[in-house]
Symmetry: C2
Subunit: 187 residues, 2 copies
């Protein structure tokens, strides 16, 4: 169980690529008809800065699929390596059988723009509304707009988990700074 | 300049998530009307195991956009941290002005299924054909099928670059193995 609830500040939604572009595994929380759920998700990408669009693959076999499609909302939460066991456990269970917040000792927090709960133990929370469902039937591909972002100020570069399949995660955290080599308009 | 050309083996296309799901920056090579190009890409995701689908955001402002759309092909190449300077340089220049293979000392290799060249210095090469262009006009979102994959056998987990924007990359390489906690059918 994780007890820490890092304090977060508002973060510009146009800059969420800062946390999502590196490709971390995320936890997606949802709420529908009074019940909440959490899923682990590795297939996602940034699609646009403004509006702040994120593409996500949510398999129709997941309990979260219907909850997110029907509510048109979710929260994308960024776990650090401190939550590795929760990430694995959430990915290996189904919300059809258990209450994942309770089972994994996670704390729901109130979002500002959506009904779905934040996961307070995560490093960042991105409140999302379904923006375009044109490819949901064909590919289970959801396009969300991030409408509100909350980020822990420190550490600036937490260790995140990047899934390779087969139960193995790569860990990111160390930084290479090449800002000096970029042309200003390319940053 | 990078001199090494790691020897590669064929790799099952249904398993390319192993390399792409962690979210590394990749180099995308293309060929059209006798000319080649390379772009740096951070916005991509796995969409399906079989067919092996990958979604990619290629801005219409990139020189590669037309080359890839018109040829319907590209190669997604996986650089390691050994190619950091090339990744930055390729991302900060345009193929409208320079020959990127020559400028950055990279070696084109012959692909099997597509006309676009492999980048031999990269850790892995994924030959891609355009599978669905339904969201190209609206979002610059290309869906490719990986039709052939080549991967360096060792190291098993090379250090890869994960872009955060602002000239800063996170580095992945260290591994956390939780295979024992997964249910077999979830792997």
């Amino acid at each position: 169980m994780v007890a820490t609830h890092p304090r977060k500040r508002d973060f510009p939604v146009s800059q969420v690529r800062r946390y999502l572009e590196p490709g971390p595994v995320v936890l997606v929380s949802s709420k529908w008809q009074g019940r909440t759920n959490i899923m682990t998700m590795g297939w996602h990408m940034v699609l646009e800065f403004t509006p702040a669009l994120v593409g996500c693959l949510i398999s129709s076999g997941n309990h979260s699929f219907g909850m997110i499609r029907d509510s048109g909302e979710c929260v994308i939460n960024l776990p650090t390596t401190a939550l590795t066991d929760e990430v694995v456990g959430i990915g290996n269970t189904t919300g059809a059988e258990i209450d994942k917040f309770k089972e994994f000792g996670l704390t729901p927090g109130k979002a500002r723009q959506v009904a779905a709960p934040l996961i307070r133990e995560c490093h960042a929370n991105f409140e999302c509304r379904l923006y375009d469902d044109v490819l949901v039937d064909r590919y289970n591909f959801f396009i969300f707009e991030v409408v509100k972002a909350h980020v822990t100020a420190s550490p600036e570069h937490p260790e995140t988990l990047h899934y390779t399949g087969d139960g193995v995660f790569m860990v990111s955290g160390r930084i290479i700074d090449r800002k000096a080599l970029f042309r200003p308009w390319m940053l």
